[in-house]
């Protein structure tokens, strides 16, 4: 079963459009950083970054129309990154949860900014 190198050639126009979108999103994220968003700065910034990354992966890296195996590799790496970050973070988020039980004078760990 001979396999061909992928025959589909992405049009230059598509690349230019994606690039324009990436530039626009970059300018947006920089602009938003000078707008008072409070605690939403990080989630918004990350959302824009994820959008940009998705565009790059789908179009520049040809994941769109790519093999299922490539999708599995992408999904697995993101999954394990989430595991590493998520579980490590859960340690820090729950470290002093029971502090007020053990010593009523001590407050629980401040999750909100204040340190």
């Amino acid at each position: 079963m001979a396999t061909q190198t992928h025959a589909h050639v992405t049009p230059t126009r598509t690349y230019l459009l994606i690039w324009a979108a990436l530039i626009a999103l970059t300018l947006l994220t920089v602009l938003l950083s000078s707008v008072p968003l409070g605690e939403w700065h990080t989630p918004v910034g990350l959302l824009i970054a994820v959008t940009k990354a998705t565009l790059i992966v789908l179009f520049f890296m040809h994941a769109m129309g790519g093999s299922r195996l490539v999708w599995m590799v992408i999904a697995t790496s993101i999954l394990f990154l989430a595991i590493m970050y998520g579980i490590t973070f859960s340690d820090y988020a729950t470290r002093n949860l029971d502090a007020s039980v053990r010593d009523p004078a001590r407050p629980t760990a401040p999750a909100a900014p204040g340190r």
Partner: protein, 551 residues
Amino acid sequence: MTTATVQPHPQPAEPPAAPRRIDYLNVAFGVRSWLLTTDHKRIAILYLVVITLMFFIGGAFATLIRLELVTPKGDLVEADTYNKLFTMHGIVMIFFFLIPSIPAVFGNFFVPMMIGAKDLAFPKINLLSWYIFVIAAVFTVWALAAGGVDTGWTFYTPYSSRSAHTYVAATIIGVFFSGFSSILTGLNFVVTIHRMRAPGMTWFKMPLFIWSMYATSIIQLLGTPVVAIALLLVAIERVTGVGIFDPKLGGDPVLFQHLFWFYSHPAVYIMILPAMGVVSELVTTFSRKPIFGYKAVAFSSIGIAVIGFLVWGHHMFVSGQSIYAGLIFSMLSFLVAVPSAIKVFNWTATLYKGSIDYKTPFLYAVYFLALFTIGGLTGLVLAATATDVHIHDTYFVIAHFHYIMVGGAIMGYMGAMHYWWPKMTGRMYPDWIANLAALIIFVGFNLTFFPQFLLGYQGMNRRYWEYAPEFQVLNVMSSAGASILAVGYLMPLVYFLWSLRYGKRAPANPWGATGLEWATASPPPPDNFAETPVVTLPPYVYNPEEAAVVR
């Protein structure tokens, strides 16, 4: 009675020597043909040579440790030296023996053959991974010889990043590079297994050794980079003085532990999964029965690989980590025992009513079953947070992981050596001495490490150069066992080398096994097969006629 002088009879002329069959060993000679080879089989042999050397270096450190521990007082070496001994024993054995062992030797040699391919997907990268490994080993051994490292193989901060006055950064560089070698090997295997199987070789027709090599490779790919960055950050902190894990600046040493163990726990599955794959091959071949529950064993390899990434905090129960995180890690650690147990049940069920052939590889498989079970069960004792508080950092932990690493992984490695040696070299070794060595290893191993369970439970600390006098009897037993174990490990060195010159020539399939690697000559030709095989039957079919009737 007269004694006639016997005239020597004229001997018939010897038949002309048959022209030698071309195989991967004699296709070319000379140092260049070995050091510039891209043949996966030659690269496997290159790895074999280096890791054998590293094994004996690691063993030398173990010898010194056990010698020191014969007496309660620290009288053989200084305390600082002792710290270096256990550190270097761990680093060499883990990074430079156990992790490469089965994948780099038997994976390299047999993954392509078992799936009917001519080579791995990236032969030059394979050779590169060997060179990286050698450079890493040389670098590390140099660092050890120049003065050594005393942080423990776990490199905990802030001692490793700020206070230690030993060759931490140099050793880290060596370990970092060995990780690169590991990643490249894993990458090669995954691509090969996905893309280069012979026609007809579906996923569920692959030998279980391939499944376990696949699972191992996934762990190598996903886990190694994290320990790489963790160690790199320590090295950067040492060299530049910037405080990343420095408590004075608000840094958290436990954060290093998270990053370190995120890899180092799955690393133990890198060490055991290949041995489990070997055991699947041995148990089937030497009972001449298909594996009981092929899919269960195959999927349990993947299960171990995945769940193994979720349990790293069980090394950190007493580190100051959140209790709630500890509880989750504990539960998940119990869960990860399940796929391992499934394997043990299935292997045992395979042996049941099998036609057992008590050859040396089989002995090692049986030793694996017994010792891995003990090691695994004691792991559950450690996984329960309540009991762990009592035995953490004691010899109980050391006994547990040596039962798995030595009683499990190294038994698997020895089994693989004895199983595939005829295929790799075209020579048989003498049965009697191989069986004797196996028995000596088994006795020596148990005498060395079983007492350590007792010592740990009674409270003897690990990584201490002296101990309370009441522990001496068990320590002497352990050291005596270690000397027996050493003899057992030296014996194969002798008879394997002997067999290269004087061993009986091996047939293509000395064990009557199934599997594509046995369908080609011993040693194999350079391109593995004369023609690409086409696979029609599932693995471990010992009676094809019956199988044909059933289907």
